[in-house]
């Protein structure tokens, strides 16, 4: 789950990390009031969960409250990479002497959290990583021990931070670690962390929270912004389905994430384009299968559906019942190819015998038939 900049910075601030004075606004008038309170120049920042807000014109500097209102009106009317801007953050503007990158994420290879820092902050850190990896300092943290003071100094020294900032930088690194750790983040990032008039301030903030840890953080769950997800993905989550919308025309319903990917791949291999990733999970019953079918068919691009079910925990007869139930309800007009193998596949096939479906024995066969059906439709 992604947090907005203003949410991340509010959390950082609780851990003692200095952030600019400012507040979030949902209307231009509110933005004007905040600018009046703050006095001086302010930055109007669109709060959307995608990168590249600046380049898209979603971040603007206002010299006075009137300009703040005007710019907020403009930004609140925008869509950035398909996402509507519903809120803006109004922050006091800061003079910038240096921009630093500071982030904590999981290093899956090392099985440890890693703190990354660079004196070249403010830009795309992945690009720095690709082109100038030596400019990024990486320090791994023992997850059972937590961060140690000496590690914060190693980072400060590694990015050639002037010594007078070591202490305040150390507190910021420890604060960020605690924010990362307490909130089960998979990413906690300040970019840029700036030196402004001899003080360090986190100008921007980003946090990703581990969805698997949400049970520990009901308060964070309330911060979830549903705009970022397609409605069909939200609907799918309700039923415990993992669904990702794609641009093709062949709907897929598969049990298991790896097999679902492989099914998409084979569709492409035989010249088709998958319309989605959909994993109905292990042991999916009829209701789940029906919901999955409704979600796939809600996409007008879908010209054919490929069902690929390898029964293990999932039982073929249950899947068949789900398909029949969903067919009664949504009355699909697109051709459907089904391949059912494994546990109770026989019974499943028997149940579906009278349904208007194309059957297949192997995955390759099923994929070829689905591609042909979509192209013929």
């Amino acid at each position: 789950m992604k947090l907005h900049e203003y949410q991340s910075k509010t959390i950082f601030s609780k851990y003692g990390i200095p952030i600019p004075k400012g507040r979030v606004a949902a209307t231009a008038v509110e933005a004007k009031h905040i600018a009046e309170e703050l006095g001086g120049r302010v930055v109007i920042k669109s709060q959307v969960l995608v990168g590249g807000r600046g380049k898209a014109g979603g971040i603007k500097l206002a010299k006075d409250p009137n300009e703040a209102e005007q710019l907020a009106t403009q930004i609140l009317g925008m869509e950035i990479k398909g996402l509507p801007v519903r809120k803006v953050l109004v922050d006091e503007a800061a003079s910038i002497d240096q921009e630093i990158y500071l982030g904590i994420t999981n290093d899956r290879a090392a099985k440890k959290p890693v703190i990354m820092a660079s004196a070249a902050g403010g830009v795309d850190i992945e690009e720095v990583a690709a082109t100038n990896p030596e400019k990024i300092i990486k320090v791994h943290i023992d997850p059972l021990l937590g961060i140690r003071d000496y590690q914060t100094r190693d980072i400060a020294s590694g990015i050639d931070l002037p010594r007078e900032y070591w202490k305040s930088f150390g507190e910021i690194v420890k604060g960020l670690w605690q924010a990362y750790s307490d909130n089960d983040a998979t990413l906690a990032e300040i970019n840029p962390l700036v030196i402004s008039k001899d003080k360090m301030v986190a100008l921007d903030g980003k946090m990703l929270i581990d969805d698997n840890a949400m049970f520990r953080h009901p308060n964070l769950n309330e911060m979830r912004d549903l705009d970022v997800e397609a409605p069909s993905e939200i609907e799918a989550r309700k039923y415990g389905l993992t669904f990702i919308k794609l641009d093709g025309d062949i709907g897929c319903m598969v049990n298991g994430a790896g097999l679902a990917m492989a099914t998409m791949d084979i569709i492409k291999l035989f010249g088709g384009e998958p319309a989605n990733f959909l994993d109905i999970g292990g042991g999916a019953g009829a209701d789940k299968v029906a919901a999955a079918m409704r979600i796939i068919l809600s996409d007008p691009n879908v010209k054919a559906i490929l069902f690929n079910v390898f029964g293990g925990i999932t039982r073929g007869d249950e899947v068949a019942k789900g398909i029949l139930a969903a067919m009664k309800e949504v009355k699909p007009t697109v051709p459907m190819v089904i391949r059912l193998v494994g546990t109770n596949a026989e019974e499943g096939r028997r149940l579906l015998a009278d349904a208007d479906m194309i059957t297949a024995e192997t995955l390759a066969d099923a994929a070829k038939k689905a591609v042909a059906a979509a192209q013929g439709a």
């Binding site: 999981n106 899956r108 290879a109 099985k111 440890k112 959290p113 992945e126 990583a129 690709a130 023992d142 997850p143 059972l144 750790s181 089960d184 998979t186 581990d210 698997n212 840890a213 049970f215 520990r216 993992t242 990702i244 794609l246 598969v254 049990n255 298991g256 994430a257 790896g258 097999l259 679902a260 990917m261 492989a262 998409m264 791949d265 084979i266 569709i267 492409k268 291999l269 998958p274 990733f277 994993d279 292990g282 390898f310 029964g311 293990g312 925990i313 193998v341 494994g342 546990t343 192997t362 995955l363 390759a364 994929a367």
Partner: protein, 286 residues
């Protein structure tokens, strides 16, 4: 011979009285797996299927039954504790089937287990199958036959697909290891390749990977330098878009890294034959 599990495996089932735990205990028993004990706190003293004693703790179960492996079916929020408990009880091999364990929990678990020298398979994995000897997990027993192909995979049903295609042309497996699709887990590809390389029963190896991370690339390096047996592979997710998590917590192309293309190229450079779709693996093994 085989790797990790066989007829001598003495298995504990943690969470044996839960829905999942009970169902798969029945399946494993039916396959002939030697389940010596179950654990459900608060239900010590009960029996499952009339022959598996239930204990309150892994320690008691292990002391009483001299178990040498434990499989975990408890819900995600309790799974880390279950792994710590098994490790502290001296169990040398832990298989965690549970899906959805928080990644910071897994980092703590993994670092702790490494200190103790405990081998972990999973979490979020289908477990192990040594056909004809032991089924320790949820891989359907009837889709594989005994043979000389070692199978290691990050995926569940995709593995079944491959085992089934192999069986259909008469190819059997020495052991199939489902290592799971989470970003931080226990045993990895290289661990399994080493074991298969050393296992006299294994003559060929199948490696089933997917997008995300760089374990396949590292496996390719190992294969190029150390592997003496032929390896056939399939990588899922060639059509997956970057930045979208494809079901498995680890299956995501992040910052341009972890693409199927990179992995396939690395494996091909290491002399691995890479199938274009899962059923083709069986063909390439012939």
């Amino acid at each position: 011979m085989s790797v990790l599990v066989d007829k001598n495996t003495r298995l504990i089932v943690q969470g044996i009285t839960g829905t999942e735990g009970l169902f798969h205990t029945q399946q494993m028993l039916a396959y002939g797996t030697n389940i010596v004990a179950g654990v459900t706190p608060g239900k010590g003293g009960e029996w499952v299927e009339g022959k598996v004693p239930v204990f309150d703790s892994v320690k008691k179960a292990a002391e009483t039954t001299e178990a040498n492996a434990s499989i975990i079916f408890v819900p995600a929020r309790f799974a880390p504790d279950a792994m710590f408990e098994a490790a502290d009880a001296g169990i040398p091999l832990i298989i965690c089937i549970t899906e959805g364990v928080a990644v910071q929990d897994m980092m703590r678990v993994r670092n702790y287990l490494d200190q103790k020298g405990v081998r972990l398979i999973g979490p979020n994995c289908p477990g192990l199958l040594t056909p004809g000897e032991a089924k320790v997990g949820i891989i359907p027993g009837d889709i594989a036959i005994p043979g000389n192909v070692g199978v290691v995979s990050r995926s569940g049903t995709l593995t079944y697909e491959v085992l089934y295609a192999m069986k259909n042309i008469g190819l059997g497996a020495s052991t199939c290891v489902g290592i799971g699709g989470d970003p931080v887990n226990g045993t990895n590809f290289i661990d399994c390749l080493e074991m298969f390389n050393d296992d006299p029963k294994t003559e060929k190896v199948v490696l089933i990977g997917e997008i995300g991370g760089n374990d396949e690339e590292k496996a390719a390096e190992y294969i190029a330098n150390k592997m003496t047996k032929p390896v056939v592979s399939f990588i899922a997710g060639q059509s997956a878009p970057p930045g979208k998590r494809m079901g498995h917590a680890g299956a995501i192309i992040e910052g341009g890294a972890g693409t199927a293309e990179d992995k396939i190229n690395a494996l091909k450079s290491a002399g691995v034959r890479v199938a274009r779709h899962p059923e083709e693996i069986a063909e390439l093994l012939k």
